[in-house]
């Protein structure tokens, strides 16, 4: 999955494109490490072109959420495709992660 990060001060705008499955989960982890370790107060992820995520991907999002919460910052996922949102719903992740 392609991860493009644009920074505007303390806010990070992230664009996600493509699939997130077990083959590229490690790469995704590397790509979002600057977000996990950084000092951004707000992280907004554009999921318009996110095609699919597996349970591996869910774990990644959860870990990101936890690290963001730990430093008191906010994480928002926007414009998720319906079938992808369904996965978040079924697993109950939509209660934990902010999805708009």
């Amino acid at each position: 999955m392609n991860v493009t990060i644009n920074e505007e001060g303390a806010k990070a705008l992230v664009k996600l494109e493509g699939r997130l499955d077990t083959t590229n989960a490690d790469q995704f982890m590397k790509d979002i490490t600057p977000l996990m370790n950084g000092a951004h107060q707000e992280i907004e992820m554009d999921c318009t072109d996110m095609e699919y995520t597996s349970s591996q991907g869910l774990r990644m999002f959860l870990m990101l959420q936890k690290s963001v919460s730990a430093r008191g910052a906010k994480l928002v996922l926007r414009n998720m495709k319906p079938h992808v949102k369904e996965v978040f719903d079924i697993t109950g992740f939509s209660h934990i992660i902010n999805i708009l």
């Binding site: 499955d21 077990t22 349970s55 869910l58 774990r59 959860l62 697993t91 934990i96």
Partner: protein, 632 residues
């Protein structure tokens, strides 16, 4: 080594052939040039020798003529002194070594009315004693002889044709006759001097420009005066020999010589080519010098042979020498070959030999060296990659083994329930599980999907399963079971692993089911009439993430011949090549076609094959888990 030898030999052979061709051309040119040059030189030399010989002979002829000339007036003055006349002839012979006979022959009846009077002195053949006689008598009618008659008719001095003088010196001679004339110019006698041709012959045959060259001296009508083969003298003419030859040029030579010409002609003497230079003598004779080509070219031929031998030897040396040099120069290549072989056999640190020259061989060496280093680096990298891959693989394999060993295989054999389940693991991912326990007339079951893979996921699954079995056996409500299992898993779970689950307990007597869904896919309930629906369950959070999460359970009343299909997302998310997924609709569609008379075993396998035929051979990227529970 043998291949190398052939290369050097082959290259040397080419060099040899090229050199040989060039040298051959050069040799041919040199030979042709030499031959022409040599022939010209021989011509020039022959002419010189001829001219010298002519001078020699002319000297003698002139001597004789002069000698006779000198005594002419003395004789004229003392023509009546018989004694004096004898003396004169003696003097002539005595004082001239070339004159072997001399005579004063008178016209018949001139001298004191004697018919014959010819005082004559000759020197003996062997003893050189002088004998004086009177020459003329009936048997020797000298006025009719050539030496008298012809000069008389011509009226001037005459050299006769050579003849054998049996009456006198006993040698082959030619007579120089000078007519004696009175005041009126009438000839009254001949003053003669005989020139020995033996001497001439000896002189002539000793003159050679080359071993096989020879001089021929011919008289006015072509008869041999002197020839190498003495028997030809007086017996043959030049035309005799000429007619024997095939080459008609010889006749032309004869004609030219008799015509008093000077020149050179090439002819062929019975397969032997030769040339003849010829020149006239003052007395009407002609002399020729024959030079066979064989002699002339003797040295040229010798030169060719020597050249050829040297050439062959030289080329041999060239061949061997160049082969040796090439071999030495290309010996690094052999060493490179050996080094490459050593490297190929696994000794990647084999040293490549150094090269002294700065040419293409050095380039080859450097390329080889670079290649070796590249291979080394590549291998190091490969080894580390392979090692880490192997570790990874083995971790996955161990995880897989743990996982599969936890799946119960002895399914319940009951009259009131048919249960069957399977997990088809994917290569990479793992983590699906199912479990079931019979507790009296209740059956307790679950299907789950662990996130992550490898050993950590397998251990996580093991904990989940163990926790479920243990807690489930306590008879607590399902929601409570879930809570406790969740807390168990959430504790110390820094990697945020989780497991989605659907757990349920069916009382087989009442056919009531308590169930709790923790983040798992909704199960399919197929009613007795065959109509399938998705069971709507509250989507609690997957287990292992948040401790103390309030799990809620639900209840449903089932009927006889109801079938439950539990599965993981390996079914609904199974992909074919174009990335389209099996999907929930297709699952429902399959479920609508399954009959309640079909055993769980068959149903599970049927769904599995349905999914597989959908994916049509594309790679399986997640575990496929299917459980069928039929209430009979």
């Amino acid at each position: 080594m043998s291949i190398k030898k052939n290369f050097a030999s082959r290259l040397s052979l080419y060099v040899l052939l090229l050199s040989a061709s060039l040298l051959l051309v050069v040799t041919i040119l040199a030979t042709v040039f030499s031959a022409t040059f040599v022939l010209n030189e021989a011509n020039v030399r022959a002419e010189k020798v001829l001219d010298n010989t002519v001078l020699e002979i002319e000297k003698v002829i002139t001597e004789v003529e002069r000698a006779v000339d000198n005594v002419d007036w003395v004789v004229q003055r003392n023509v009546n002194d018989e004694q004096f006349l004898y003396t004169v002839t003696r003097e002539l012979v005595a004082t001239n070594p070339n004159i072997v006979g001399s005579a004063v022959a008178f016209e018949p009846y001139y001298f004191k009315n004697r018919k014959y009077f010819a005082p004559f002195t000759y020197s003996g053949d062997i003893s050189h004693e002088l004998h004086t006689v009177q020459l003329g008598n009936e048997h020797y009618d000298y006025p009719t002889l050539d030496w008298y008659q012809i000069p008389k008719l011509l009226g001037k001095p005459y050299w006769s044709e050579p003849y054998y003088d049996d009456g006198g010196s006993g040698q082959r001679i030619s007579t120089y006759s000078m007519p004696l004339k009175d005041e009126e110019g009438k000839i009254y006698g001949m003053l003669t001097a005989d020139l020995s041709l033996e001497w001439m012959s000896d002189l002539v045959t000793s003159i050679k420009t080359t071993p096989n060259s020879y001089i021929l001296l011919i008289g006015r009508n072509g008869a041999y005066i002197a020839h190498e083969k003495k028997e030809k003298v007086l017996n043959e003419t030049i035309f005799t020999s000429a007619l024997e030859m095939e080459d008609t040029t010889a006749i032309r030579i004869g004609k030219n010589m008799l015509a008093g010409e000077r020149g050179m002609i090439h002819f062929k003497n019975d397969d032997d080519k030769a040339f003849v230079v010829y020149s006239p003598l003052s007395n009407g004779w002609s002399i020729g010098l024959v030079c066979p080509y064989k002699d002339i070219y003797y040295y040229v031929n010798l030169l060719i042979i020597i050249l050829m031998v040297l050439l062959i030897l030289g080329l041999l040396v060239l061949f061997l020498g160049s082969r040796r040099i090439i071999r030495k120069q290309t010996s690094p290549i052999v060493e490179f070959g050996n080094a490459a072989m050593t490297i190929a056999k696994g000794n990647f640190n084999a040293s490549i030999p150094e090269v002294k020259t700065k040419d293409e061989i050095l380039q080859l060496r450097n390329s080889l060296d670079y290649m070796q280093r590249s291979i080394n680096e590549y291998i190091v990298e490969l080894k580390s990659t392979t090692a880490s891959n192997e570790r990874y693989e083995s971790e996955l394999n161990i995880g897989r083994e743990i996982q599969m060993s936890m799946l119960p295989q002895n399914f319940p054999q009951r009259g009131d329930c048919s249960l069957y389940a399977m997990v088809q693991p994917a290569k990479e991912v793992g983590g699906d599980l199912y479990d079931f326990v019979e507790v009296g007339d209740s059956i307790f079951f679950l299907v789950g999907d662990v996130s992550g893979k490898g050993v950590p996921a397998a251990l996580f699954m093991a904990i989940a399963r163990a926790a479920f079995r243990f807690i489930g056996a306590l008879g607590l409500p399902i929601s409570e079971v879930m809570c406790r299992v969740n807390n168990c898993l959430a504790d110390g779970n820094k990697n945020e692993m989780f497991v989605t689950m659907f757990a349920g307990r069916i009382d087989l007597k009442t056919r009531k089911m308590d169930y709790c869904n923790a983040g798992h896919n909704p199960i399919v309930v197929i009613a007795p009439d065959g109509k399938p629906t998705y069971l709507h369950a509250k989507p609690n959070l997957a287990a292992g993430l948040f401790a103390d999460f309030p799990y809620e359970e639900e209840q449903i009343q089932l009927e006889q011949d109801t079938r439950l299909i539990l599965y993981t997302d390996g079914v609904t998310e199974a992909e074919r090549e174009d990335k389209s997924q099996y999907g929930e609709d297709r699952l429902l569609e399959w479920a609508s076609k399954i009959n309640s008379s079909v055993t769980s075993n068959a149903a599970v396998l049927d769904l599995y094959s349905h999914v597989k035929s959908f994916t049509h051979g594309a790679d399986q990227n997640d575990d496929i888990t299917i459980m069928s529970i039929l209430l009979k």
